[in-house]
Point group: C2
Chain length 362, copies 2
């Protein structure tokens, strides 16, 4: 099997893939209602929330769009905290739908500075919501969401969180950290194929929703809520992915949240130590390196594209390159969801052979 | 196996389900690029189009939203031709995103009258686009899209088509009938689980797209086009459903468009004759009954809810009830995609037992 080490889609366990192959059922019948209820309740446990949780059919970016259009009106001021590609995307979505976006961009590779967020909120009292990426997949950096939340709540703002590549892998107690809208996607630590967005919506987010005037139909949380009450989704859901998620959630709950978080921390630590031992440099700021994806600075002599090709074609290992301006400058090793020590060992072992072939060391 | 006779999701052949269970791959790698290219080319054959075809991750309603926001600006006048629930939904989406919707609603159970469309276009010269449902799933009626297209093009308007439950089952040559945006969904005649929208975009639709000011990000056709050129989708796609679609498209192309259309016509005819032979009345106007779903008038004494329950629990047959105002007044038999003569025979046979149990005849 390919050692698929990108930050999603992640490899899926056999039981999960088997569930993907289940025959279709009526999405408006009692059997589906039971699955929907079961999955929703299990998601609430792993989100550590008592708020509403919904599944929407789409991919992560759709979840970010849903988060924006459900709580904001055109003209609303929002503070967008960005540390990479996905932070910029969040801001671009809000702008596209008419929000007055105040960008607070930090250097790629660094985490957001809480003091600067505080200052921005102080300087902009009319800000209604703060958009923040918990784990920035493009740079391999995890923000200190707990500290950010404290500041955002100190100023009484809505906290809208892109938790796509963190929730289910990295500690994120949604209620304790007072996240108002929290978005994740099935193809990350959940060990399930892409196609499903999972989102938690707080009481404060519902109040914002009642006033929010950005146009929405497909992504409308209110419709999702009213249908969930009768055991349905407003539109035909990605049934297979829900079947698969049901299986994966059982595995995750059996393992337990603290074990899941510890497992990701352990495997990330292994990846980081191994990378350093190879004489390579980590891209992420010390203390903020992500436990789901490790970003590595490409040494000047290394041909990243060639390295990725050799790894893929000769070692059946697939890594991520750098996105946008990071192309050729970093590469990324995904280690979220279904990943073992051996998977990481195999990557590190292959590097010893491939790095010299692609121009670095040897 | 359950005889799942709703108008989608439809049962999937074993080979298709097997493909759903394939392990994940990198959606930005060469293997996925080959699949995307292959599936796109095969879709073009079955759409009978030389225009651009994209896959978007979501369910049908998302596809309708995508169609609207990609070609219209707030304030644009659109003529919405509605003959049921899905026609009304199309209009509601356009309205939600700020279009000035001129509703042209026909009695449920009837097809749209082409003369009235002509008159409406004559009366409203500023109309930019016409929204029309090809096959109205809620009433089991198929509009005469070829004739509607002629009128729409006579007046030089954009033709935006909900072909969700028609394309791949009922004749719809996209280019010949000059459809500008044509939307379908994987869980219909395509014999694939839900999660994927397929959409064709004409040259005229691209011209409208360049001017269209409705807010869009996730559904943006221009992003889909630019990513497709490099063998990718803008956002992580429902990879499993694409794998499954690849298998299903091979089966469909092997069968051939005319055979697929004839098969659906034959099976629908069988359903309609059988229903009439039981002393029941068809809901759809003569000559416009759908070849993908048959709607049946519930006789006064029949308890539809009870009938559906007995069919489900004692015969493992799942039919659709009536939606919204049709609840309790009609019921619906889906016969699109992977369906055999025996499946319909089994339904008709079960009716003989169940109808008297639920209050009708016997």
């Amino acid at each position: 099997m390919t050692n698929l080490r990108i930050p999603g889609p992640t490899p899926c366990p056999d039981e999960v893939l088997k569930a993907m192959g289940r025959q279709m059922i009526n999405h408006r019948g009692p059997e589906f209602a039971r699955s929907l209820d079961d999955v929703t309740n299990k998601l609430k446990q792993l989100f550590q929330t008592r708020n509403d949780v919904f599944m929407l059919t789409g991919s992560g970016t759709g979840g970010l769009e849903a988060a924006v259009v459900n709580v904001l009106s055109p003209g609303d001021k929002v503070l967008s905290v960005s540390i990479g590609v996905f932070g910029e995307r969040f801001a671009a979505i809000a702008k596209q739908f008419g929000a007055d976006v105040i960008p607070l961009n930090f250097e790629w590779g660094k985490a957001a500075k809480v003091d600067e967020i505080r200052q921005a909120l102080k300087d902009n009292p009319q800000v209604k919501a703060v958009l923040v990426t918990h784990n920035e997949t493009s740079t391999g950096v995890t923000n200190d969401l707990s500290a950010i939340s404290s500041v955002v709540k100190e100023y009484g703002k809505l906290l809208v969180v892109d938790a796509i590549s963190s929730l289910g892998s990295i500690e994120l107690p949604v209620d304790e950290w007072q996240c108002d809208v929290t978005v994740t996607g099935s193809q990350k630590g959940w060990m399930v194929p892409p196609g499903l967005i999972m989102v938690a919506v707080s009481e404060a987010a519902w109040e914002a929703n009642a006033e929010a005037k950005m146009p929405r139909f497909y992504w409308d949380f209110a419709k999702a809520k009213s249908y969930l009450e009768k055991g349905q989704t407003p539109w035909t859901p990605a049934i297979s992915v829900i079947f698969a998620l049901e299986v994966a959630l059982d595995m995750l709950l059996k393992e337990g949240i603290s074990s899941i978080v510890a497992r990701h921390a352990h495997i990330a630590d292994k990846a980081r130590s191994g990378i350093k031992a190879l004489g390579l440099e980590l891209f992420a700021e010390d203390g903020y390196a992500s436990n789901t994806v490790t970003s590595v600075v490409a040494p000047e002599r290394l041909n990243v594209k060639e390295m990725l090709r050799i790894l893929r074609e000769e070692h059946d290992i697939v890594l991520g390159g750098g996105q946008q301006s990071m192309s050729g400058k970093i590469f990324r090793i995904g280690h979220l969801g279904w990943v073992t020590d051996k998977d990481i060992d195999d990557v590190l072992h292959a590097f010893k052979v491939v790095l010299p072939q692609a121009g670095f060391g040897g």
